[in-house]
């Protein structure tokens, strides 16, 4: 009997772990290197993530913005060709989410940025990641521990919607 449940549990646990690992660092339609843009060119985050300090959502850069430089820069590279193709075919780029929260969570980038939090606190050293991978579990405990540490509100209604 106990053995049986042991098996069931292990199976479920294994599944859960596999599930997570998969989501940690998905491939992107265009292998965008944060290393170059953040570290080398040291662009500020909100140069591309235009809404990060005015909205819940950080938002991605309009393709036009990418093209403003990449019309001329590194145009021969395969990835940039992809980009140009998106632009010419007027197709929006659908990036795979690395950080996604469930529906019942209310999270506002604006509030956290305005509270003086540095992006790296949650997103890690993006500048050092050739391919973005998730740092932090995004589990409730993960949020709460930080909220506890910084005396941020722990009223359930702040985050649960």
């Amino acid at each position: 009997m106990i053995a049986y449940f042991g098996v069931v549990f292990l199976a479920m646990a294994g599944l859960a772990v596999a599930w997570q690992q998969a989501g940690l660092s998905p491939d992107q339609p265009i292998a965008f290197p944060h290393t170059i843009h953040v570290s080398k060119l040291s662009l500020p985050c909100n140069f591309c993530h235009i809404y990060v300090d005015i909205s819940r959502h950080a938002g991605g850069p309009p393709v036009e913005k990418c093209m403003s430089c990449h019309k001329s820069i590194a145009t021969e590279r395969e990835e940039i060709r992809k980009l140009t193709r998106y632009y010419e075919e007027k197709r929006p780029i659908e990036w795979n989410r690395v950080y996604s929260l469930p529906d019942h969570v209310y999270f506002s980038h604006k509030r956290h940025v305005k509270a003086g939090l540095d992006c790296s606190e949650c997103h890690g050293m993006v500048g050092a990641m050739k391919k973005i991978r998730r740092v932090g579990s995004l589990k409730m405990g993960w949020c709460v521990s930080c909220h506890r540490a910084r005396g941020a509100p722990r009223d359930c209604a702040t985050c649960h919607q």
Binding site: M140, W142, S145
Partner: protein, 431 residues
């Protein structure tokens, strides 16, 4: 015949139950098991589709499931009463009942334990109910009677199982003697290697005494806690101070009835008349009568309080309970729990085992209905008249209820074939 043979005779009589199962037995087991499988099926269906497959609605959020929960927890009680309380009181007749009674307690609690889970809207989140450290850093609300339930019932189950097991240890040693090969090893293992040395007996004796002492308060506490699920709410018809004693009495009442229901056929089939005599039944019948009177008294008090209170909500509630949509249930309850048992004032009836059996069935029905009436009729007529509504159980709920009986009797049948149905050692001791 002289003493030692008597001892051997006891062993043979009791253990004869454990010989190869006959066709009738297997058939019975098949039926009960099938019912239980039905329960699992219905439950799965309910979890997949949603609670809507039950008859529950606004305002009646609790129905048959909670009724079953209270019913089965109630059943458990008399087991403990007979095995622990009567032990402390050194009541001799207990010896012939305590093993089946304890078994009943354990199985009833296993069944009861299912229902809080079955009635959850999101059963798959049931672990939220347990206070264990999680990454959420969240604990449970210890102010909620439901959490009290979790603690009370699981404690009760644990203690009962230990008590049951401890009682079995010396008997396992005896069974071991009659078995060969693997079975011998298993029973040997279960007996923890009991040999009946002096040290073992000395500590065993005290262990049993103290377990009895620990179990005794549970008889009162557990069903009080269960009753507080209702008494702690503000629903007219639930929010009453008498609920705790009222429920405890009811629990013992129904449990005792269930003991009779179980033991009468057992005695017949396994020919244990020598050990379970009519005198024993008479004493049990007296308990039944006594608790029935308490329960009846509680019914009267409930109505008395309601009408004396002058509280319009209470008054309407009890008028409705007796004369409203569930009036039939109410009067069934009165007949089975209050009127029928009065016949036990007649000695001949107390000693008439067949009669007792029938009566015990009535009481089982009556007590189930009592819980239903209390739970449903109160919810159906609470404060806001706009929100009033009536509830009728669905096929799913019926199936699951039958399934719970299936599980209970499956367990009991297995018990008959695998464990000594009476406490051999004790009978020997009292020969």
């Amino acid at each position: 015949m002289d003493k030692p043979d008597k001892l051997a005779r006891v062993e043979q009589d009791v253990l004869s139950a454990m010989k190869r199962p006959g066709l009738a037995y297997l058939a019975a087991l098949g039926c009960t098991a099938a019912l239980f499988l039905g329960l699992l099926g219905f439950w799965g269906y309910q979890m997949k589709t949603g609670m809507g497959v039950s008859g529950l609605m606004h305002p009646v959020g609790w129905g048959v499931y909670i009724t079953n929960f209270v019913f089965w927890v109630g059943i458990a009680h008399s087991g403990t009463l007979i095995s622990a309380v009567l032990y402390l009181f050194r009541a001799r007749f207990r010896t012939s009942f305590n093993r089946p009674a304890e078994a009943m307690t354990v199985f009833a609690l296993l069944v009861a334990g299912l229902f809080p889970l079955i009635h959850l809207g999101r059963t798959w989140k049931f672990y939220y109910l347990f206070p264990y450290p999680t990454q959420r850093m969240l604990w449970v609300n210890f102010r909620s009677p439901l959490i009290w339930d979790v603690f009370a019932v699981s404690t009760y189950l644990t203690v009962s199982v230990v008590f049951f097991y401890v009682g079995l240890i010396p008997d396992f040693a005896i069974v071991r003697r009659y078995k060969e090969g693997l079975a011998k090893r298993i029973y040997g293992f279960l007996s923890l290697g009991w040999t009946g040395t002096r040290r073992q007996w000395k500590n065993y004796n005290q262990l049993y005494l103290f377990l009895a002492a620990f179990a005794t308060p549970l008889v009162a506490s557990v069903h009080s806690v269960v009753s507080w699920d209702f008494a702690m709410s503000i629903i007219p018809g639930w929010h009453t101070t008498i609920f705790a004693p009222y429920f405890v009495a009811g629990a013992i009442f129904s449990g005792t009835a269930m003991v009779i229901t179980l033991v009468v056929p057992m005695r017949k089939i396994l020919v244990l008349d020598r050990y379970i005599t009519d005198d024993h039944f008479e004493s049990i019948a007296k308990i039944l009568l006594f608790t029935s009177l308490i329960v009846t008294y509680s019914y009267i008090v409930e109505f008395g309080l309601a009408f004396y209170s002058g509280n319009p909500f209470e008054m309407e509630e009890f008028r409705y309970r007796a004369l409203g949509d569930y009036t039939v249930m109410f009067w069934i309850m009165i007949f089975c729990n209050s009127l029928a048992p009065l016949t036990l004032f007649v000695r001949s009836l107390r000693r008439n085992v067949k009669y007792l059996f029938v009566l015990s069935l009535l009481v089982n029905v009556g007590m189930w209905v009592e819980r239903f009436v209390i739970i449903v009729s109160s919810l159906a007529r609470d404060f806001d008249p706009y929100a009033w509504g009536t509830y009728t159980p669905s096929i799913v709920e019926v199936g699951i209820t039958l399934g719970s009986f299936g599980l209970f009797f499956t367990a009991y049948l297995l018990f008959l074939k695998t464990l000594p149905v009476l406490s051999i050692t004790e009978i020997k001791e009292h020969l």
